[in-house]
Amino acid sequence: MSLAAEAFVSQIAAAEPWPENATLYQPLKEDQILLSDSASSLAVQTFLRMCGLPVLVSCRANAEYMSPSGKVPFIHVGNQVVSELGLIVQFTKAKGHSLSDGLDDVQRAEMKAYMELVNNMLLTAELYIQWCDDYTATEISRPRYSSPYSWPLNHILAYQKQWEVRRKMNAIGWSGKSLEQVYEDVSQCCQALSQRLGTQPYFFNKQPTELDALVFGHLFTILTTQLTNDELAEKVKSYTNLLSFCHRIEQAYFKEHDRESQSGSSRHSKGSLP
């Protein structure tokens, strides 16, 4: 986040209280949304529930293009539009709701570092598996991404997205990696998270923070999404404390609401946790 973006968000946000009709926009749940976007969306929803802020979820085929930064999810609060978890945390903080107030500076730095780890490792691995693995791209990613559009626009947009992600992978040096190496990286990331979590209920003290929301979003989505094979889910499952961490958060924040809540019950996923 640039300084200017932070200042902008804080100034405008502070004025009004959180409205009842705040809405979160994401791609269509049944047919369109992919693993990485679903994980990001779940992370934001979990964070807002942890803060006790109500939000409606609206699915739009053009959510990605509606977003000011091109990334989903984004929230429409009052007359502001904010996308991505980092900026949304900043935005809610300006409105007076924060989960990480109780942390001291060292812990806050640590939290930021782990959030960066999840974004750089887990999210990138998800994108790699979706778009750089030919089999997954052909069977799952391209058909789902282009499902709202008619021929030939669907092919054009799907390939455009694939090339864009592959270029990004090139730029960060992941294009040389093989699928096995990517699974290894995921495993290592989960190990680091598992070690930090230890036997605690949440990553910091007994209160959840945005790091918990982010980790839950990604891990839960990985565990409940059907890909071409189960290897990714297996890597996560091998760390039992992460598994119980996900159960715990699901129980605490999602089970108490309706069955139709957004905890990943799409045809694309296998339902609730094993």
Binding site: R60, A61, N62, E64, Y65, M66, P68, H76, N79, V81, P148, Y149, S150, W151, P152, L153, I156, L157
Partner: protein, 448 residues
């Protein structure tokens, strides 16, 4: 008329077989040879040969149709008239730089005593020509660079590439045109284009990439065009402060349409579906003292088919110095936070009185291009709920009419464009409309 040797329609002095008379010869020769005059109009002639000289890459088969009529001429005047018409037809193919006609008597073994040879001396256009123009449209200007390849394969096909950079839109396109040999009015063209436009009144940015094919053919006395168009349309917000209604319309869509004045989209594929019609009527009447009373009426309707709502890029817009004067550009009708969203139905009417400038300065010269202008404009734009009947629609269009009146000066540019400077008083302003009362300047081609 061009260079036709045998120019005069008066009786020519006969000078033996040489009917091609130069103008200066004629002047010198006339007084002495008056006794030998023969009136040639009544003399029967037969056109034996028609030559076309100067062809390079043009294929002859398309030219035979254009000059075929010349053979049917029965007398000299007819020959001259028909060869003039043939010359026009050859020029309209767009492949010759100039065409000259030479009419001469036939010579040679099979020559008849009243036989004539008609020769068309043509000069083909260069293989590739470039052009640079500036264009003025409705309150926008643009610079156009063009590259044209006329007569690419020899049968009057034309390949054009055009790049246009303007205040509102930037576009480039490639176009291929082919007429049917012998029937130039029946032709088809294929276009590929990309247009990027910015519309600040809606905070909207639109990029269209499209392909279209057009068939033109005359039916009885009218000319019809049938056009199929496929456009990949991408909408986006122009600024971070765009209203949420405009933000909701961002994204990609595919429009697939057939049109023939009426546009029907969606039945040949794509995800945008509607039926769109619009019309323009204008009536002018000259009154006393060179003043002209003009009335015009515009209207249009967009009917979405299926259950998808209409897209912001297909709706009609109203207002501005070229439509209802006194209002800002396209700033009438439904809006959201200052961004104008357009409407599905509109009507607009204007009543104008044009008079020459008072005291007629510069009569016959530059001053003739100016007129003073008194106007009354009215119009309305709204979205329709198609579940209600036409009576509800008409009453909706009839309530809250925006109108304006005023006076100003009009300058005519060429035969096409107009500049106007008006003092406008807008009335019937509804909340949400943006007005431009007082002095308003407009430049364009199509005015209400």
């Amino acid at each position: 008329m061009g260079t036709v040797h045998a120019r005069s329609l008066d009786p020519l002095p006969m000078q033996g077989p040489e009917l091609g008379v130069q103008a200066d010869d004629m002047d010198l020769g006339e007084p002495e040879q008056e006794e030998k005059q023969e009136v040639l109009e009544n003399k029967d002639v037969v056109v034996q040969h028609v030559h076309i000289d100067g062809l390079g890459r043009t294929k002859e088969d398309i030219l035979t149709y254009e000059v075929a009529d010349v053979f049917r001429a029965k007398n000299l005047i007819d020959v001259m008239k028909k060869s003039h018409e043939a010359r026009q037809k050859l020029l309209r193919l767009g492949i010759f730089r100039h065409v000259e006609v030479v009419i001469d008597t036939t010579e040679g073994a099979d020559a008849l005593p009243n036989g004539l040879d008609v020769t068309f001396e043509v000069k083909e256009l260069r293989r590739m020509t470039g052009s640079y123009n500036t264009m003025v449209g409705n309150n926008e200007g643009s610079m156009v660079l063009g590259l044209k390849l006329p007569n690419v394969f020899g049968r009057a096909e034309k390949l054009t590439f055009q790049f246009s950079y303007g205040t509102k839109e930037t576009s480039y396109g490639l176009s291929f045109f082919k007429p049917q040999p012998g029937h130039f009015e029946r032709n088809f063209s294929i276009n590929l284009y990309k247009v990027t436009g910015q519309f600040p009144w809606s905070s909207l940015r639109e990029t269209d990439r499209g392909v279209s094919t057009e068939f033109s053919f005359p039916i009885w006395r009218t000319n019809h065009t049938l056009k199929w168009e496929g456009v990949w349309r991408e909408l986006g917000c122009l600024a971070r402060t765009a209203s949420f209604s405009v933000r909701e319309e961002s994204g990609h869509s595919l429009k697939n349409s057939l049109s023939n004045t009426v546009e029907l989209a969606g039945y040949t594929g794509g995800d945008v579906s509607f039926l769109k019609e619009d019309f323009e009527i204008q009536l002018n009447k000259t009154l006393f003292w060179d003043s002209v009373l003009s009335t015009s009426l515009w209207g249009g309707m967009l009917l979405p088919l299926g259950d998808k709502p209409s897209s912001i890029a297909d709706r009609f817009y109203l207002g501005g110095p070229t439509s209802v004067r006194g209002y800002s550009m396209y700033s009438i009708g439904p809006q959201s936070e200052g961004d104008y969203l357009g409407g599905e139905a509109f009507w607009a009417g204007g009543l104008h009185l044009y008079t020459p400038l008072p005291f007629r300065p510069g009569r016959g010269g530059f001053g003739e291009l100016f007129r003073t202008h008194f106007f009354l404009n009215a119009g309305n734009l709204c979205n329709l709920n198609y579940g209600e009947g036409p009576r509800a629609h008409l009453s909706k269009l009839a309530e809250c009419i925006r109108w304006s009146y005023g006076a100003g000066i009009v300058l005519r540019l060429g035969n096409i464009a107009r500049l106007e400077l008006n003092y406008c008083i807008p009335m019937g302003v509804q909340s949400g409309d943006r007005i431009c009362d007082g002095v308003q300047f407009g430049a364009g081609i199509r005015f209400l």
